[in-house]
Amino acid sequence: MSTHAEHLPQGHDSHDHHGPPTPHYSSRIAPPVLGMFLFIGTEIMLFGSFFTAYFFVRVVHGTPWPPQQFHLPRFVALVNTSILVTSSFTMHWALKSIKRGNVWGLRAGLLLTFLMGLTFLITQAIEYSRVGFNTGDGSFATIFFCLTGLHGAHVFVGLTILGFMTIRAFRGHFSPEHHHGVEIGGIYWHFVDVMWIVVYLTVYIL
């Protein structure tokens, strides 16, 4: 039988193994990390298709951005950006804490990250209600809501993951040796932040 991971139960060998053989695992990239990497690859393609629509509308079609009758809430978006970027720092702090065995640092970091993510989402929802245009008000409005809405959906998914991570952290599921759940969620959260910076620059700034 091939080499397998350390976490298999004691005494587990080829004689008591049922079902398909344990997949050979020669890479130093853990399968969950590889899975997250591939998932994010698909996400980049998804966002890429929306950005293609954005550039088509704005550059090829020459739609004014924003049209004269509309106003983009740049300042609120800047505050929201600051909140989201700060949440990445607390996420990183949470992981650093658990690696050093500081469980309360992990809990505080995850809780703060979750709260800041929630603040971002609520602020975005309020911004939607006050922005003064809707999805049917031309290609500008459609692209605006599609891009920011797609990102908002990702923040929602990230918050769900963060919620589970936080609950698990308070239940004591993570330790300096076993914190893969935090690592994977952290990669996703940073990815969501990076995507927001790109969305913010293209939609609000440029």
Partner: protein
């Protein structure tokens, strides 16, 4: 090339770099939109160069523990063409050996496909080494590997679950590369 999503730490570092680039673009946008677009293009180019040229820093995963049944120790022996006389230098606890001889060729020969001589010589070496090991009482067979040593090891591991990789070739750089790439003990004869 760096993989910015390999770990949380690298994803965070990537985010910080993106934030720095975003500040430059946002600053340029106050002057002129097209200047901001140019800054964005430069920033994206800079990030790509950083990703391609930057040092790869990885947090090493723990070396995996063998799962082979007791009394079995499987070794993947990697040797270069013309190697001989290594049967007596293999660890005494070894029971199974797969000998891999990479068919290393020059770039020109690789591009032109003129690799027959090298592959034949690699095959002869693999058979000779496997024969020596079999005569020493081990379960051994030999195969010819790809024209890249690490790739040859990777291919061999797909069909041979080794507990250990033993290099009978190469320098410290190859040893370090193999240790970085494979999650089992790697040593050199």
């Amino acid at each position: 090339m760096q993989n910015p999503l390999r770990s949380e730490a690298e994803a965070f570092r990537f985010l910080v770099v993106v934030v720095a680039g975003a500040i430059v673009v946002a600053g340029a946008s106050f002057v002129n939109t097209w200047l901001a677009v140019a800054a964005a293009v430069v920033a994206i180019g800079g990030v790509i160069v950083w990703l391609v040229r930057g040092p790869v820093t990885t947090e090493h995963a723990p070396v995996l523990v063998s799962g082979t049944p007791g009394g079995t120790h499987r070794v993947l022996l990697v040797a270069e063409r013309g190697t001989s006389g290594i049967a007596g230098r293999i660890d005494a606890r070894t029971t199974d050996v797969l000998v891999v001889v990479p068919a290393l060729v020059s770039t020109v020969k690789s591009l032109t496909g003129a690799v027959d001589d090298e592959r034949n010589e690699a095959e002869r070496t693999a058979e000779a080494l496997a024969g020596d090991l079999s005569r020493a009482g081990l379960e051994a067979r030999g195969v010819v590997g790809a024209d890249d040593t690490v790739l040859a090891i990777e291919d061999a591991l797909r069909e041979f679950g080794a507990d250990e990789i033993v290099l009978a070739m190469g320098d410290d750089a190859l040893l370090a590369k193999a240790r970085e790439r494979f999650a089992m003990p790697v040593s050199r004869l």
